[in-house]
Amino acid sequence: MDMTSPRPAGPPDGYGPFAHLTAPNVLLYRSVMRAFLVAKERFAVHLRPEDVYAALPAAVRPGELEGVVGALDKLVEWGNLRADPDTGRVTAVEDFYRKRYIYQLTREGEAAEEALSAYDEALGRRGALQAVALHDIVTQLRALLVLAAEEAPDPAKTHLALDGLASRFGALADNARAFMGSLQRTIDLHDVGEEVFLAYKDQLIQYLERFIQDLITLGGRIARLILELEEGGRIDLLLRAAAAREAADATPQEATYAEQAAYERWAGRWAGLAAWFLSRDGRESQARLLRGRALGAVPQLLAVVRSLNERRAGRSDRSADFRTLARWFAEAPDDESRHRLWRTAFGLYPARHLTVDAETLAARAARPDPASTPWADAEPLRISPQLRRTGSYERRGKPRKVEDRQEARRRLAEVAVKQAAEIAAARARLVTDGVTRLSGLGELDPVSFRLFLQLLGDALATWRPGMTHTVATSNDGSMEIRLTALADGSAAEVLTPGGIFRGPDHTIEIIDLAEGDDGL
């Protein structure tokens, strides 16, 4: 995985990361670096300016976030920190400008801090993620669970287990940080040779896939174990036991203080561990961030491969293409040339065609002009006299705009109201107020007659041979008709404006069910 050469950092003398010691704002710089070290102790991979701001002690905290950003940028310049574009999506203009970078310790900056704090840890780290570490963490957490189940956990075993967990975890977090740093460089192709990249890309993608898989399966298991340990404060007992054992070596006058300090340190580490695997307080867990980053890296890497291939195949760099076009537009002699360039380069123009109407088409189909007819002698397209005179006409063919249908809707509503009123009147007209004869219905207006025919049809549909009486309800359930055949053979006539309706006479009763008082 170690395919990247170290980035040149700071001034050529190589002591850039110590430059802040002589700068006027030294206290602020030291505090900022301290914040990163504390964060590192809690296994945080990177910090946003807001995080640093919150972590600064009140004595050195600048009044504005801008002060911290300034300090961060200065430290980036000296090589203590590195800034990566913050690729999280934002929704407000201000955020876009503010959230530009996330910061992390550079190896140089960390080395400087380590030297300054008299810690002596190795500088060389490989930018790889040890999926094995995840397995170890599971094992250690299980051991802790066993210990927590005991009445009085063995302090020595507890301390050892916690220590093992912390060191395994420290390695994982360090590697994660280095890995993400080098991944970003790889993706940006900042200082990676093309050959190196292509040689490693398959390995890298395989590695990423395996890691993501482990992180998903083991990460979930680890999160469950952590929750289990935290249940009922069991972990707290273990942390206190470990702290007590650590403080045992302290001198008597330091004893109480040392135990408390050790406990706080352990609690901090535990909180960091939990934050790595559990999303809490609205902050995403580091594991999830890392997973997202690693997942996102796969398509990004593939894109790099594609762009490398395109570069090799002689395809041009798009940004350079657009800059070239900008120059061509500027150099073009006149507007016409520019329009031609636009049309040719972008190809976004619509097709353009003359129109023809259906009648002309039909006429041509019936009597086609020979292909050798000049336009002037051929049958023309006829233009509406109205259009020729006034410049407007009822458009034929498809309307091009969404029509305003307010007017039509209002008319429809009016028609609907009118029809409802007519039907109501027709129904009222038909209701017979008891049994009457068909011949006694008298004259019906067209609407009532139509309704009557429907009812009669509904009733007659139920006639079976031999029946003399039927009851039917209209299709819409609003009216009932009772019809009885008469034996006297008399005929009935119903007068309508359209003519006379004749048939054998019946007794008839029509009831409006919709009125609710069907007893009538």
């Binding site: 070239t324 360039l341 049309r343 097709a351 065609h353 407007s392």
Partner: protein
């Protein structure tokens, strides 16, 4: 007897394919969201048929993914200056030199940039890029601190919003123009990636003149066999028939004309099958006319003041004596027409001095539709202009009631 199901499905398939093809010809870049979502779905469904058709007949590539469909149109002839980039507002003013340059610089910045951009930041990068010595040598420069410059940038951004390259997240351009605010956009990289439709990247072309550059952008690979030459001719002719209102024979080379004469029926039938356009074949050329009056950005005849003036001037031009009609003639004619028809026109068109603008609009439209040609001296009618007019003798025939009502001097005909 009912129609067999297979036949119904075939018919539906053909209708969908036609709708999709027309949508692409009208709008070579379609997005999954927005006004053309239905058309996009059709294009996506029939992508393989369409891709094959366009590749075989025009050599245009069709790229379709989940978000965008892009028909990589390459024009068959490079002289057409009537398709400009236009402002996305009602005025639809053609882009100026500054706007075209700004557009390209903005695209260059977006291409390098990240998934989001603020307008203010974009402006900064444009100003930086504009300082490039080669560009500065052309005498163009941007500071983007004056209001009119900001207006130019806003017009460019609105064009990109319309194309779907940018999507507005927060803020609005008005605020930026007035200097009171900023705007945040998401950059749609897939749309951006498909924006250039050229055969070769402009940055790989070393030509010095515009014409050579245009040829370079569209150059085909070497045509070293008869078969390739014929294929190139078929594609070029089909492109013209698909894109342009009228294909005049006198614009073709002898080889092209020979090929077109032999293959005319085949070429036009293939286009009709796909698009529903109908060939109007005449002695002077071919127009693929549209019965749906929809596959176009300009119409003739068209209602409204400008459409009306265009129609009346077209009528005047068909009657004109001599090959060239001067612009001054046309303006005099418009002044005369205003007395007769002005009552139907927009108020601004009746004001004295509006003639120049009216003539310009009308001539632009007629030229864009291939009905007239412009020369330094004025306007030359082209043969297809006659498709809207008939000879006097025919007018005087009392064929319909409508004809009788029309004054005898009218040439443009009524239905």
């Amino acid at each position: 007897m009912s129609t067999p199901l297979a036949e119904v499905l075939d018919g539906q398939h053909a209708a969908e394919l036609r709708k999709a093809a027309r949508a692409l010809l009208k709008q070579p870049l379609l997005l999954a969201g927005g006004a053309y979502a239905d058309e996009f779905r059709l294009v996506r469904r029939h992508a393989s048929d369409l891709r094959e058709w366009f590749d075989r007949n025009t050599g245009w590539s069709l790229q379709v993914d989940a978000e965008t469909a892009r028909l990589g149109k390459i024009p068959a002839h490079l002289a057409d200056a009537t398709h400009s980039a236009r402002e996305a507002t009602r005025s639809a003013a053609p882009f100026t030199r500054r706007r075209y340059v700004l557009l390209c610089l903005a695209l260059a910045a977006l291409e390098r940039g990240e998934a989001q951009i603020a307008l203010g930041r974009l402006a900064d990068q444009v100003v930086l890029d504009a300082a490039d010595p080669q560009l500065a040598a052309t005498g163009i420069q941007f500071t983007l601190d004056r209001r009119d410059e900001r207006l130019d940038l806003a017009a460019v951004v609105r064009l990109l919003l319309g194309l779907g390259v940018l999507r507005r997240v927060a803020g609005d351009e008005e605020a930026y123009v007035s200097g009171a605010g900023d705007v945040l956009y998401d950059v749609e990289r897939r749309v951006l990636a498909g924006l250039l439709a050229t055969r070769r990247g402009p940055s790989t072309i070393r030509a010095a003149t515009l014409d050579e550059r245009l040829v370079g952008l569209t150059a085909e690979t070497a045509l070293d066999s008869d078969e390739l030459r014929f294929r190139a001719m078929r594609r070029s002719l089909t492109r013209r028939l698909l894109d342009d209102p009228v294909l005049y024979y006198d614009e073709l080379t002898d080889a092209e004309l020979g090929y077109l004469t032999r293959q005319r029926g085949f070429l036009t039938a293939r286009i009709t099958e796909l698009t529903g356009l109908v060939a109007e074949v005449r002695a002077e050329g071919i127009a693929m006319v549209d019965p749906d009056d929809d596959l176009t950005d300009l119409r003739m005849p068209e209602s409204g003041t400008h459409g009306h003036v265009t129609l009346l001037l077209a009528e005047y031009l068909t009657r004109a004596e001599g090959p060239v009609v001067s612009t001054a003639d046309l303006e005099r004619r418009v002044a005369g027409l205003a007395a007769e028809h002005g009552g139907f026109w927009a108020k601004s068109a009746r004001e004295p001095g509006a003639e120049g603008e009216l003539v310009e609009q009308a001539v632009s439209r007629l030229a864009a539709l291939g009905l007239v040609a412009r020369t330094p001296d004025g306007v030359v009618p082209r043969p297809a202009l006659a498709r809207y007019a008939v000879g006097e003798t025919v007018v005087l025939e009392p064929r319909t009631v409508g004809t009788a009502q029309v004054p005898a001097q009218r040439k443009a005909h009524q239905r």
